[in-house]
Structure formats: C-alpha cells, structure tokens
C-alpha cells in the first residue's frame, strides 16, 4: 500500500462506497428497509448496547445512509458523520448534545432566514438562548461570550448575500472560550471550503442544496471534526458523563475522536427521530459524485452573471465576493480560491417593486425558495424567506426590500445573462 493519498474528486466518487458484498452491485444499493434481522439474542443485545458494529433500525442507522455519511466525512476531513432528514434537523440534533435549558450559543447574524427563525423561536422554547454577533466584527463574538455559552454557530458563505465569514478568526474566539465552533458549510460545500481546515469542530450541511445538487431531495448532515475535547471543564455532560440509557457508557471515553457523531446518532437521532430516507440518501450520493464538476461550473457562471449585473444600469449594487470590488473579496481569495459560490444578492434601483417585476419576467430562472440546484433560481427574500423578520433584521441579514437573490445553475452562462437582460430591460 502506497502513501499516495487520493484527491477530492476521487473521494467524491469512492469514499464510503464499495461493491455490495452480497450481490456485487457497484452503485450503492438503496436499502429501503425499516429494520435488520439479528443473528441471535446475544447479537441483538450487543448492537443495542453499542458494543458491536451493525444495523438495528433505520431511525438509528441504515447502510445507504452510512455510505453518504462516510462520503461527506471524508470530503470534509472529519472523523465521522450523521445524516438526518434536513439541514434544520442537523442543527437541532447538534445543539441538543451541547445545550441544557438556560444555556446560550452565539450565532452570526448573517444566516439563512430559516435558521434565524429556528434559533429565535423554536430553540427559545427549548430554553436554548441565542446571542447574536456580527461576523464582520469579530470582537462582537468575544463580547457575547458568557459562562453559559456552549457553542458558536456561523455559515462559511452566508445565505442570502454570499458574504464570506472569517472562520479562523472566529475559531480563535471559540477556542479561547472553550466551546466548539459549528460551521454551516451548505453554500460553499467542501469543494470550495473545508471549515475543519480552518478550525471548525463541527460542520453541518443542508444536503438539500449543492451536495445533493439537483433540487430533488431534502437532507442534512453533521460532520464531527474529532478536534474537540468534550471532557474538559465538564461543560458537555451528554458526552463526558455516564449515560443511563446505555448502561453507564461514557460516549467520549468509548468512542474517542468520533464521540460527537455517535452522541448525535444514539442520543439525538435515536430519540428525536428526524431520520433520512435511504432513497434520499441515494439521490444525494449520486449528486455528490459530480460535486467538483458542478460546483466549478456554478461558480464560473455566477462570476459571469455577477459581472454582467454589475455593469447594468438598472442595478444599484451587486454583492458577490468573487468580484474584486466586493467587500468580501479578500476573504474569498483566502477561504474559497476556486470560486466564491453561486448564491448572491443584488439590489435594484427600482426597489421592492422592481424586484417583484424582475422575478415575474424571468423565463429561465425559477422563482422558488431554494438554492443549489442545477437550475438557476431567483427569489425576492423580503417577500418570502425573510418575510417573518422585521425591516431592520431583514437589512441586517442582507435581505432588504430592494434585494434579489440568485442561485446560479449550471446552464450556459450566455443564456442566463440573456434572460436577466430581457427581464431587466422590459
């Protein structure tokens, strides 16, 4: 065995997948089953007690999902992963391992609008208190740290404006505070940014976006970097203390550097229940095989479209970190040298009405609430994804009334530009 290590595209095709032992099937089979037969009572007991490797019930684990998990763990450079039903489910399961009622976590103010809602309302009802900080002002994270802080949550490339977050600077704050840094890497995908290389301890994704990539399957995933010592300071009892539901096993002691992923599976997914369908796992896996090719095309197209918009008289401004004039360009060059992603916003001189009109005139771009599809997508966040926020919060999260968000697909860029041109000039 040589020491040569395979590259990203090879991992995107192969990691986690091997020919099926029983049939020789080369594509990963869809194990569309709820449950798995035990060899005998002893085998069943050792599986339930986390003593043996193997499958029990698809809410806890499934062989198709496991291939997806290992694939994404390998692409992100993590030790293990857990696939769940959606990106939002991933966020719940992660924080459930870290926070007790009354605890706090710090989150970047620039986040997907759905995450802002989830943190502000749903998590509040669990007693998990979000404290907002400004990713453009690292000191605001430091100021937000209190003895009850249990985690910091950021997006690598933030939805909707495509701004780039200084992951290393925020990871330094997290390290000093003794809490893990969670990075939502949905908009970048590991092809553009690998947050673990920059100090992330946990990576989450909505697989629904670029990883699946075809707009056909919801999914989410949690990647354990294996970098955080859960026993230090006694702050994370789910990981460091004996678990009554598993005969007093201590998760960190038993599972070492993939303890967090195991806790998410056996304490989070098992009890909260947001399991990913094996069929969706199969669809997402198929998508991941072409991630490097698609992502590069998404980025190249996005840059061309952003350049076109920046020169258009109806456009007031374009927020795309791939443009040299952009506020986040230096961060993009550091963190995402292959491309600044394919989701960005621009604002129209004609304000809210011009935004609504543009969306209605586009013929190739689809007006819908998603990003990271092969197809190009458009949305007016102020009237949709961010409509539950008040105007100040809309503007703070980069979704003011005049703002339009694009997710650039992998069509021919000339056709995308022509579509925008006719819709802007009509």
């Amino acid at each position: 065995m040589s020491d040569r290590l395979p590259g990203f595209s090879t991992l995107a095709v192969h990691a986690g997948a091997q020919p099926d032992p029983t049939t020789g099937a080369r594509a990963t089979p869809i194990y569309q089953t709820t449950s798995f037969v035990f060899n005998d009572a002893d085998h069943a007991a050792s599986l339930f007690g986390l003593q043996a490797f193997g499958n029990i019930y698809t809410r806890i684990g499934n062989p198709t999902n496991a291939v997806l998990e290992e694939r994404v763990a390998a692409l992100e450079g993590g030790t293990a992963a857990l696939a769940v039903a959606s990106g939002h489910a991933a966020q719940v399961v992660v924080l459930q391992q870290l926070l007790q009622p009354g605890d706090e976590f710090i989150a970047a103010r620039k986040l997907y609008g759905g995450s802002i809602n989830q943190f502000t309302h749903a998590f509040k009802s669990f007693g998990w208190n979000v404290v907002w900080a400004d990713p453009d002002d690292i000191a605001s994270f430091e100021r937000a740290v209190t003895p009850r802080t249990k985690a910091i949550f950021i997006e690598s490339i933030a939805n909707p404006a495509g701004s780039i977050t200084d992951i290393e600077a925020i990871s330094t704050v997290a390290r000093k505070a003794g809490v893990p840094l969670i990075v939502d890497n949905t908009l970048a995908s590991p092809y553009l940014i690998r947050p673990i290389d920059h100090g992330a301890d946990i990576v989450v994704h909505s697989l629904t976006k670029f990883l699946g990539g075809h707009g056909n399957s919801l999914g989410g995933i949690i990647v354990d970097a294996g970098t955080f010592d859960w026993s230090a300071g006694g702050k994370y009892p789910m990981l460091s203390e004996p678990r009554p539901e598993y005969h007093g096993i201590r998760i960190q002691e038993t599972f070492g550097n993939f303890a967090f992923a195991i806790a998410c599976r056996v304490l989070g997914l098992r009890d909260l229940g947001p399991a990913l369908s094996p069929f969706n796992a199969f669809m997402i896996l198929t998508g991941i095989e072409t991630l490097p090719l698609r992502m590069q095309k998404h980025c190249d197209n996005a840059k061309a479209v952003a350049e076109f918009l920046a020169g258009h008289p109806a456009v007031a401004s374009v927020n795309y970190a791939g443009l040299p004039s952009d506020k986040y360009h230096q961060l993009a060059r550091k963190y995402a040298p292959k491309g600044a992603g394919a989701v960005f916003t621009f604002s129209l001189k004609g304000g809210y009405d011009a935004g609504v009109s543009l969306v209605s005139k586009l013929q190739l771009f689809s007006h819908l609430a998603n990003v990271g599809d092969t197809r190009s997508l458009v949305i007016h966040p102020a009237s949709t994804t961010h409509s539950q926020l008040d105007d100040a919060a809309k503007t703070k999260s980069g979704a003011g009334p005049d703002v339009v968000r694009l997710s650039i697909g992998i069509e021919d860029k000339e056709d995308l530009i022509a579509d925008l041109e006719q819709a802007l000039s009509a």
Binding site: M1, D3, L5, P6, T10, L11, H14, A15, G16, Q18, P19, D20, P21, T22, G24, N39, H43, S46, G49, Q51, A52, F53, G54, N55, G61, N65, A66, V67, E69, E70, A73, A74, G77, G78, T79, A80, A81, A83, A225, G226, T227, F228, D229, W230, S231, A232, H247, G248, I249, Q252, E253, T254, F255, G256, N257, F258, A259, A261, I262, R265
Partner: protein
C-alpha cells in the same frame, strides 16, 4: 514512533501480524468496553487471554482469567492494556521481564504514558497509545463504516459477506486525515489528574 499520529500502515502491520493478545484489565461485566473489545477481537480470530487478578478462577467467553502476565506461561504477541494512564507503567515493567518479550504493547483509548512507551520502545517493542484495537480493526476493514465513521480507506473490491468469527481484510487503500489531537489531549489531561 510519533504517538500523536500513527500511519495506517503501522497499525495495519500490527493487526495483520499478531495472533495472541493478553488483555490486562479485561472485565467479565458485559457492558464494559474491555468486555466487548475482547469479544470482538476473539470473534475476529485473535487468541485472546484475559488478565485480571480479581477474577482468577472464572473465565471470559471460555478463556480462563490469569492473575498476571507472568502466569500466562507461553509467548505473547501483544499486550492490550485496559487500564488508566496512571496504571500503565507497572504493566509495562512486568512485560519487560517476559522472555521472549511481547512484540507489541497497546494502550487503550484514553490511556497514554509516554515514559512507559519510551521504555518499551527502547527494548524493541512496538507501542500504540490511546487507540482501541477494535475500532482500528473495524476502521481498516471498513466494518465501522456502518456507524458513519470515516474509515479513511477506499476499495473497489467486492468484500465477502461478513459473518461472525471471520477475519476481514484490512489491506484497503488509505486516504489520510483523522485528527486524534483532541482525544490525545483528553487522555493526557486525564493522566495528569489521576
């Protein structure tokens, strides 16, 4: 050997070559990690010997407990120490009195004693610290992938359908990665406290 990051080939070489393994601190309690690591390694074909002075007269999955390494009375390939970091040194010192010497001393996940490791290595013994042989065997064979763990290996070969008691190939292509710095830190902190 750099004990902060073992090359896969080092671990693979050990697991492919040893046959007899004495497990110091093996527990007959079937929910203890030592019990299920013992059972797994026995099922994968290793010749397992439980060492625990508190249980002499009983047996573990059909293998009689012995009180100490010296009581085993036959050559050993590997000693797997299931004790806290603070109890490692005396076991290593006892191992160094054996004739012939064991080829490998392995300290469990969470256990690390660099001074004891240096002593053993000076005598030509290979050392692994803060790892679990069950996890490493499961990882290199990719059996552990069933739990979403990154095996950090690839293979395009059709594996045999796994059955109980079968040895698995651990000769897959390694892909690197797998930071263990945090669990090493945890083990070090623990040994400093105890």
């Amino acid at each position: 050997m750099n004990h902060d990051a073992y090359p896969d080939n080092y671990i693979r070489g050990i697991l492919n070559s040893v046959k007899s393994i004495a497990m110091v601190g093996a527990s007959p309690v079937n929910v203890r990690p030592s019990y299920f690591a013992f059972k797994y390694l026995a099922q994968r074909g290793y010749d397992m010997i439980p060492v625990n002075p508190g249980h002499v007269g009983k047996d573990l999955l059909g293998k009689p407990f012995v009180a100490s390494l010296r009581d085993i009375g036959r050559p050993l390939d590997m000693i797997d120490i299931f004790r806290n970091s603070s109890h490692i040194m005396p076991v290593v010192e006892e191992a160094l009195t054996l004739d012939p010497l064991p080829k490998v001393i392995w300290m469990q996940l969470g256990a690390r004693d660099d001074a004891a490791a240096a002593k053993a290595e000076a005598a030509g013994i290979k050392v692994v610290m803060n790892r679990c042989p069950k996890i490493e065997y499961g990882r290199l064979s990719s059996e552990i992938s069933w739990m979403g763990v990154n095996s950090r290996t690839l293979s395009s070969k059709r594996p045999p359908a796994p059955t109980q008691g079968m040895r698995l190939s651990i000769n897959r292509m390694s892909v690197g990665g797998g930071d263990t710095a945090a669990s090493d830190r945890a083990a070090k902190n623990k040994s400093e406290q105890s």
